[in-house]
């Protein structure tokens, strides 16, 4: 384990600026991975006794059997005249994937939301055990197609860290370029979905057209529209030339410029803004205590972005402007994404401009001999996926096969903040809240 990135100390209680990010088992121990939001540090601790019970099923969800819906019910029961549970999903209009909700309501007003996940459970973590990292990669990068580059990079960074492999500089920079492209693509997607929900069909089509152009760039320069297969253990497949970098950079700059024109229209559409402003407020304190990550947390004023707080190469060398917004509502989350498209474009152009030379692949080297500390037997990586902080913990056995994998996707921890934000909103706000959190069932259900 890289002690530069992870601080080991025993945390007794949550609260203040300490956010519980993940719980996982490794080597017979249960660990809690915490984010010290004030000091911008990742802290690894024995599981604190004061861990909120509500996080139990949520964070250990990987252990639940496939296909059994898991209700993320943290509040108490609701009493009152006329109160009923309105079932929404798993096969309803408006829920894009197989996932459900129970809306506790007395009609129109949402008193409480109980998300139901795990309809889409595939058991990714268990199915990779016993496979070589290269084989496991095929499953992992396909488990959440929208976040494929983040998933594969996160997994490979952890594996390479574990093996102590030397990965060529250019490969690391190419991975970062892919992650930024993925971010732009996803944020455009979310913006398009929001516009569609507000019946702004032209804006939705414009955003989708821009997203399609990014997908085609992916396809042209990385070999796959959703960036499958570009990553490999010890490097990447595409070897971007100077000209290609320049071409990509120009194309992305053009897309960003066209998007900024669209945003100017968006900011002048009162009808659209009305649906977002004040909708589904997630207060900063709730965002912190419920473990919100990504644009959802940054829209509530929490400054946490893995590119800044636990950077992998090459983010340590690049200036990343982390966007936050204190608005706490759907509008704030949307504006964080809108601005992140711009800032990602700048980051991407810097990456492409400064793309180092040399090869993009290296041979695997055998695992170095280490001392007997159990903690050294696992590798951990955090990557800022488009929807937020993605954590993967990897252990390999003596044959170099995966023996333990823990994935803590961003969508999983964002369910509770989403549910909290919807309280006391009306039914018609549901879709806006849902889209603004960028929630994905493929991501959360694994």
């Amino acid at each position: 384990m890289d002690s530069r990135r992870v601080e080991r100390r025993n945390v007794e209680s949550l609260g203040d600026a300490i956010q519980l990010s993940s719980v996982f088992r490794a080597g017979g121990h249960t660990y809690a991975l915490l984010s010290d939001m004030g000091a911008h540090k990742t802290v690894l601790s024995e599981l604190p006794p004061t861990l909120g019970e509500e996080f139990g099923p949520l964070l250990k969800g990987g252990e639940a059997p496939a296909g059994t819906p898991l209700e993320l019910d943290v509040g108490g029961k609701v009493e009152g005249y006329g109160v009923f549970e309105f079932p929404y999903g798993p096969v309803s209009w408006g829920v894009p994937e197989a996932g459900g909700f129970k809306l506790v309501t007395y009609g129109e007003r949402v008193v409480k939301v109980i998300p139901q996940v795990n309809f889409k459970k595939r058991g990714v973590e268990r199915s990779v055990v016993g496979r070589t990292p290269q084989d496991a990669l095929l499953i992992i990068e396909r488990s959440a197609g929208n976040f494929s580059a983040s998933y594969s990079t996160c997994f490979l960074t952890a594996v390479e860290d574990y093996l102590g492999s030397e990965v060529p500089l250019k490969a690391r920079w190419t991975r970062a370029a892919a992650i930024e492209l993925e971010r732009i693509c996803n944020h455009l997607h979310v913006f398009g979905r929001l516009a569609e929900t507000a019946s702004q069909n032209i804006a939705a089509s414009q955003a989708n057209a821009l997203r399609e152009r990014v997908l085609r760039l992916n396809s042209k320069h990385f070999g796959h529209r959703y960036l499958f297969g570009f990553n490999t253990v010890g490097g990447v497949r595409p070897d971007l030339s100077r000209e290609e970098c320049k071409e990509l950079s120009t194309a992305v700059r053009l897309i960003a410029r066209e998007f900024s024109e669209l945003v100017a229209y968006f900011l002048s559409s009162r009808i659209f803004l009305d649906r977002l402003q004040g909708t589904a407020r997630l207060e900063r304190g709730d965002a912190l205590s419920l473990g919100a990550v990504g644009p959802a947390a940054r829209g509530s004023g929490l400054l946490w972005d893995d590119r800044l707080t636990c950077p992998i190469d090459p983010y340590e060398d690049i200036y990343v402007n982390v966007e936050t917004d204190a608005g706490e509502d759907t509008m704030a989350r949307t504006m964080v994404r809108v601005r992140e498209i711009e800032s990602s474009t700048i980051v991407l152009r810097e990456i492409l401009d400064r793309m180092p030379g040399g090869g993009v692949k290296s041979g695997n080297r055998p695992k170095q001999q280490r001392d007997g500390d159990v903690l050294d037997d696992l590798a951990l990586c955090r990557i800022e996926s488009p929807s937020g902080d993605l954590i993967q913990v990897v252990q390999l056995d003596m044959q170099g096969r995966v023996s333990n994998l823990h994935v803590r996707p961003a969508s999983l921890v964002n369910w509770l903040p989403f549910a909290r934000s919807l309280e006391s909103n009306v039914f018609t706000d549901f879709q806006f809240a849902f889209e603004s959190f960028g929630l994905s069932y493929a991501d959360s259900d694994r």
Binding site: G76, K77, Y106
Partner: protein
């Protein structure tokens, strides 16, 4: 012997049957109700003869002054109202035979006494007999409300509130009558032969009559008098039907009678009636749509319908003022027609809801108790009743609501801009009310009647069976509602007969004709030329379409007669999950109208809050006022009356404490002062 000779005999027969029934009620409920059925049938026959043969009868009972006598009179005008009431009473008494098995015997006795009093109200030709009937009706209704099964304190409060409003109504009616008396010098001014009054006291008479009868009709701002006694006391359902469908009809009769005896209208009377009616209709519809009480909801709907009737009366007055004879005639017939269709539909709705509540053991619309089979007749009567009240063609409610809206559409004919604007605004209110009432009607049928039937179990609820009388009354009301719609020209004829006394001519021929291939007399025209509608042929068209569907089904191999055997039942789609079996997982009636509560929070004073009590969240959506039984929104006017009552109580307490503190001297001085004041007043006015 002409049919007219039968009238006095029939009238006495009716009165005697009802009187005997009322006395017999103390011994046997069933006998009383059966006599009620017979008495109502006699009343219906009597009024039909009067209407069709155009006869009148006048029976002087007692000359109490040289110019006035207590007299019973029958005319086409009052027998129209007697016909409507008798038809409702007949069904209600029939229903009561099977319904009333758990109320004290006095209920049947009081109910017949109330009916008897209403007959007196309708057939009295003089003010004294009228007021006696009116008082007796109010007091016997008061005791009927006291039989309610709600919480004792609530029932008592509701009954006394009813009495207070009832007596207030009497006071205002007396004021109106005093105005009439001072002009014509006799108390015999209610009959058809009585002279029309042109008097400087006209405005006094009209306004006090509107307030007095409006109090009984539940017009805004007195609409509490209608919904509160019925809902808060959870009064017996047969009594509720009587109160809401026919007692308010007495108010309609009263105001129309007074209006027909006023020789000349001021323009602002019409505006006042239009405004009061429009506001009542809209408020009634809105409150009805958010009511969760299976009798509060229809009671609010009564306010809506009575508002519409007053709107039609107001239009009649404005049109008369501008000498728009055609429009005035149509407006008056519309008011009469609406009184008919509303009374029968509302009577039916109370009985249907009453039966459902009896089976469920709750007056809560959203109460989740499964209804173990209310029978097919309940469902059929229920659907036709709510369709009629929601104004679906060709049923009774549609025809009259169409007529009233047609009148308002023609408010452009009014002679000046202000009247046109008033007419248009009131038209918008009435149209809005007609739209909103659909919400309440779908709610009362969907959640109150239909939904529990489907998910019910096979066992009976406490062995309650719908006997022949209950099923018969449902079938009777179904036939009545469909019949009044389909045979609308016939009802139009009766209403025209009733209106002819006021209008001076029978308007039937002007409005009912044939058109575009539809033979006469099956088209009702609303003007010349304006709109036209044929309820009869709409019904025929519906049946033809149904027939075509059945025949097509036959053509593709589904035997129409075997359709009933080929029903395939599947579970509905429930978003990919198992069908919920728990009532808390189903959309309920409260949720159905919560959007209205939230959107119109300024009107309903809705307060929402979620209180977190430990791990339990309690939602509170209610008005700032407390729930007395299970009504949920605040009637702003109730608040007003509550404050008024509080002040009055305080003032009386203050007076009794300070002004009359038990000092004899002070009291004597007070009496002396009052005596001197009266003397001075008499001296001054006598001069």
């Amino acid at each position: 012997m002409t049919p007219g000779d039968l009238l006095p005999g029939l009238l006495f027969g009716t009165l005697a049957t009802l009187g005997v029934g009322s006395a017999l009620g103390l011994a046997s409920k069933k006998a009383a109700y059966l006599l009620g059925v017979i008495g109502s049938a006699l009343g219906a026959v009597l009024s039909l003869i009067t209407l069709v043969y155009g006869g009148t009868a006048s029976i002087d009972l007692w000359h109490f002054t040289p110019t006035s006598s207590a007299q019973l009179q029958l005319s086409q005008f009052n027998s129209y109202f007697l016909l409507i009431s008798s038809l409702v009473w007949l069904g209600t008494c029939l229903y009561s035979v099977g319904y009333d098995d758990d109320y004290p015997r006095s209920l049947s006795s009081l109910m017949l006494l109330t009916i008897l009093s209403m007959v007196f109200v309708l057939v009295s030709g003089d003010a004294i007999t009228f007021l006696m009937g009116w008082e007796s009706m109010t007091i016997s209704s008061f005791f009927m409300i006291l039989e309610g099964k709600g919480e004792r304190e609530g029932v008592r409060n509701a009954a006394y509130l009813f009495l207070a409003f009832g007596e207030g109504s009497s006071v205002f009616i007396m004021l109106a009558f005093s105005g009439l008396f001072s002009t014509v010098g006799t108390f015999d001014f209610l009959g058809p032969a009585a002279a029309r009054v042109v008097s400087p006291l006209g405005s006094w008479i009209f306004v006090t009559a509107l307030v007095g009868f409006g109090l009984k009709m539940g017009l805004a701002p007195f609409h509490m008098s209608e919904w509160l006694p019925i809902a808060h006391s959870s009064a017996p359902s047969n009594a509720s039907a009587l109160l809401s469908a026919t007692l308010t009809l007495m108010g309609v009769y009263g105001i129309m009678n007074i209006v027909s005896h006023l020789g000349q209208f001021e323009l602002w009377w019409g505006w006042l009636a239009l405004a009061v009616g429009g506001v009542s209709a809209l408020l009634g519809a809105l409150f009805s749509s958010v009511s969760e009480h299976s009798k509060g909801l229809p009671a609010y709907s009564t306010i809506e319908n009575n508002g519409m009737i007053v709107v039609a009366i107001g239009s009649y007055m404005v049109a008369s003022y501008y000498n728009l004879a055609l429009l005035a005639d149509f407006a008056l017939v519309a008011a009469l027609f609406h009184a008919f269709s509303h009374s029968i539909s509302k009577g039916s709705l109370f009985l249907v809801n009453g039966w459902v509540s009896k089976l469920k053991g709750s007056f809560d619309l959203g109460s989740p108790n499964p209804l173990p089979g209310g029978g097919r007749s309940l469902g059929i009567a229920g659907i036709f009743t709510v369709l009629s009240l929601a104004a679906v063609p060709p049923l009774a409610g549609f025809v009259s609501e169409w007529m009233i809206l047609e009148v308002l559409f023609q408010s452009f004919r009014f002679g000046d801009l202000t009247s046109q604007i008033v007419g248009t605004l009131v038209g918008a209110m009435v149209a809005l009310a007609a739209g909103i009432i659909v919400v309440s009607m779908t709610k009362v049928f969907g959640f109150g009647i239909l939904w529990p039937r489907k998910s019910g179990t096979a066992q009976g609820a406490g062995g309650i069976r719908d006997g022949l009388s209950v099923r018969g009354s449902f079938a009777y009301f179904f036939a009545l509602i469909a019949g009044v719609g389909v045979a609308a020209p016939g009802v139009f004829l009766l209403a025209s007969d009733a209106a002819s006394q006021t209008l001076g001519a029978n308007p039937f021929g002007t409005f009912v004709t044939g058109l575009l291939g539809v033979p006469s007399p099956f088209v009702i025209l609303s003007g010349s030329p304006f709109g036209g509608f044929s309820p009869t042929f709409t019904a025929v068209a519906f049946l033809l379409i149904l027939l075509v569907v059945l025949l097509s089904a036959g053509a593709i191999g589904i035997h129409p007669l075997r359709l009933g055997l080929r029903i395939r039942r599947t579970q509905g789609w429930s978003a990919g999950r198992a069908q919920p079996d728990d009532a808390t997982e189903l959309y309920n009636s409260f949720g159905y109208s919560t959007p209205i509560r939230i959107m119109l929070r300024f009107l309903f004073r809705t307060k929402e809050s979620v209180v977190k009590v430990g791990a339990v969240q309690r939602t509170v959506v209610r008005s700032p006022d407390e729930y007395v039984v299970d009504l949920e929104v605040l009637d702003v006017f109730k608040k007003f009356y509550d404050v008024l009552a509080k002040w009055t109580l305080w003032l009386s307490a203050y007076t009794s404490r300070k002004v009359m503190p038990g000092k004899l001297g002070l009291y004597l001085i007070y009496i002396m002062a009052a005596f001197i004041f009266v003397l001075i007043y008499i001296l001054l006015t006598a001069g």
